[in-house]
């Protein structure tokens, strides 16, 4: 296993009125490829801020983030956008699918954004939906799909361009136990592929047993790093 992500001295402050509130207090952590890493903690502990910084969508106040050897905040804005498009896949809690595109078209969005022809991109999106066992739903709109099916479309969108890092925000929160388990199996399969990593922000204790590593956050600090489920969960 090689190092996928290195986070060094990450500080994040947000302005509130005339003052600034520090939500991350100098975080240092490494994530290895081939690992399914969970980020857990109470609301307001800073895990969403940390995952946003790791994913390159929120600039830190101080510190460095290296993703597969690239210091992402040394990149220009355009380079960073390009880096995200090529290297990172996102799975959002609310899916954020485009309601007027079919499942296959939604899955194809990162490929289209990367410049691939529409027909080819949609074909690849459809093929991935087949692998996720919802090939028969490929031509349906998101509103015609169940929550679990929508989440699998969101996963297809996150994986279709074969990113090396996948970041997920509560991917199983809206799913029943069986669907959630199926989603996690899939993400685990991705994580175990060589030179890839998956980081998941979750509160869902039904899936803690699938983690390779669990990072617990409290008040902007990582307070626990291990394979065991933290106390209180």
């Amino acid at each position: 296993m090689s190092e996928a992500i290195r986070v060094e001295g990450i500080v994040k402050e947000f302005p509130v009125g005339d003052t600034r509130i520090r939500v991350l207090h100098g975080i240092d952590v490494d994530v290895n490829s081939g690992e399914l890493t969970y980020l857990v903690g109470e609301s307001g502990s800073g895990k969403t801020t940390l995952i946003s910084i790791i994913a390159g969508i929120l600039y830190p106040t101080a510190g460095r983030v290296s993703v597969f050897g690239t210091d992402i905040y040394d990149l220009s804005d355009n380079q960073l956008v390009r880096f995200r498009l090529q290297t990172i896949g996102f799975i959002f809690q609310q899916y954020n699918l485009i309601p007027t595109l079919t499942a296959a078209e939604n899955a194809a969005v990162p490929l289209v954004a990367a410049g691939m022809r529409r027909a080819e991109a949609v074909d690849r999106g459809r093929a991935l939906l087949e692998r996720l066992n919802i090939g028969d739903q490929a031509e349906k709109l998101p509103r015609q799909l169940s929550g679990g099916q929508q989440q699998r479309v969101a996963i297809a969108r996150a994986l279709v361009h074969e990113p090396r890092l996948v970041v997920c925000d509560e991917p199983t929160a809206a799913l029943d136990a069986k669907s959630g388990r199926r989603v996690m199996d899939l993400l685990r399969e991705v994580a175990l592929a060589s030179e890839r990593a998956v980081i998941i922000v979750t509160h869902d204790n039904r899936i803690f047993d699938l983690a390779d590593r669990i990072l617990q956050m409290e008040d902007g600090r990582i307070t626990r790093d291990g394979k065991q489920m933290p106390e209180g969960h």
């Binding site: 969403t48 995952i51 946003s52 994913a55 969508i57 929120l58 804005d77 355009n78 956008v81 390009r82 880096f83 995200r84 498009l85 090529q86 990172i88 996102f90 959002f92 809690q93 609310q94 954020n96 699918l97 485009i98 309601p99 007027t100 595109l101 078209e105 969005v109 990162p110 289209v112 954004a113 990367a114 529409r118 709109l141 969108r157 925000d169 922000v201």
Partner: protein, 378 residues
């Protein structure tokens, strides 16, 4: 990403139709009102443009339009004829009168007396009857719109009228552009007109003149003014005077201006609100696209594609409706007779729609660009 932007927009039928409605409504209102405005103004020039052969109009120095002038002494005709550079000159009488129809109704009319010999001043196109019939005793021609107004059932030709207590017989119908006041027009010979109209010392309204070949009409008009002390205007100048008189002396420009402004404001309000709602409903999706790796330039192009599509289709629909209105109106109703849409009006409407789309698109774009991709995790 263009097709994704278009699908985002067209997939939301209600908002898409709302946006199209806003642009189409604005385009229709602006185009239709400007068309009516321009054509009403042009009616101020219709009496001048109707006389195709004369390129100079001579009148009393206080004269302003075909309807606002003082009569000239009959000697003015010979004085104009004597000015070097004048090929020919003909008299024209324009005056108001009242007719009593066979049914006993009274109707105000304009009586136009044209040169007995040449009929200069008479519209060229006849709807019914022959130009020669004007030579018959008591003969008058009526304009086509006026004939339909006075004789709804038809049969105007041959009808006897009481014109200022004198007998007049309609011998033909001419195809004339309605004047700004839309009064019924009766054409007759100059000598007849002198009988029909109340006797005053001077009754010659205008001298119509033609500049000799190779002579500049403006220069000849200036020479006429210098040598006769009368006012001489070239045909385009006098046509413009008729338009300017309406602009300066009626509330039409302000009223139409207000309507056009309302069209723009209502359009901006409908399109702006609907576009903002559309963007607000899709802000998470735009945020997700930015997180995935769609850069701000591509986002700008997406919003531009959406705004452009709405502008293009909305403008097309609105313009088509306005053109249909003008065509149908001109073909079926005397109120819009001769109306047409000058090419400048669709261009003006296009510019207004462009401004509207740019304005609303930029406001919508601001909120999209301000959306931080990290917000999709919150």
């Amino acid at each position: 990403m263009g097709w994704i932007a278009i699908r985002m927009l067209t997939g939301d039928r209600v908002k898409f139709i709302g946006l199209l409605f806003g642009v189409a409504f604005s385009t229709l209102l602006i185009t239709q009102q400007l068309t009516i405005f321009v054509n009403l103004l042009l009616r101020g020039a219709a009496p001048v443009n109707e006389v195709s052969t004369a390129d100079i109009w001579v009148m009393d120095p206080s004269g302003r339009t075909t309807d606002v002038t003082l009569a000239l002494p009959s000697t003015a005709l010979e004085r104009v004829r004597g000015v070097p550079g004048v090929l020919w000159a003909a008299p024209l009488i324009r005056s108001g009168a009242t007719v009593r129809t066979p049914e006993g109704d009274l109707e105000p009319v304009s009586v136009i007396g044209v040169d007995d010999a040449t009929l200069i001043g008479l519209p060229r196109r006849m709807v019914e009857g022959s130009r020669d019939a004007l030579a018959e005793p008591d003969a008058v021609f009526i304009d086509d719109v006026g004939s339909r107004k006075l004789f709804e059932q038809g049969g105007a030709v041959g009808t006897r009228l009481e014109l200022n207590d004198q007998r007049a017989v309609i011998r033909g119908i001419v195809d004339a552009d309605p004047s700004f006041t839309s009064t019924v027009i009766l054409y007759t010979r100059y000598s007849n007109a002198l009988n029909y109209l109340p006797g005053t010392r001077n009754r010659l309204s205008f001298v119509l003149a033609r500049s000799a070949p190779g002579q500049d009409a403006k220069a000849v008009a200036t020479r006429i003014e210098r040598e006769t002390g009368l006012r001489a205007r070239t045909k385009p100048e006098f046509a413009r005077d008729g338009i300017d008189y309406i602009i300066e002396n009626t509330g039409i420009p302000i009223n139409f201006g207000i309507t056009v402004a309302l069209g723009f404001i209502v359009g901006v309000a409908i399109v702006g609100l609907t576009f903002s709602l559309f963007i607000r409903d899709n802000i998470k999706q735009f945020g997700a696209l930015k997180a995935i790796g769609v850069n701000n330039n591509e986002i700008r192009l997406m919003v531009a594609a959406q705004a452009g599509l709405v502008g293009l289709i909305g403008y097309g629909v609105g313009l088509a409706m306005a053109v249909a209105f003008v065509f149908v109106g001109a073909a079926t109703g005397d109120a819009f007779k001769g109306f047409y849409m000058p090419w400048e009006i669709p261009v003006i409407a296009a510019v207004v729609v462009l401004v509207m789309i740019l304005l609303t698109g930029l406001i919508a774009l601001r909120s999209v660009l301000r959306t931080e991709p990290a917000e999709v995790f919150r």
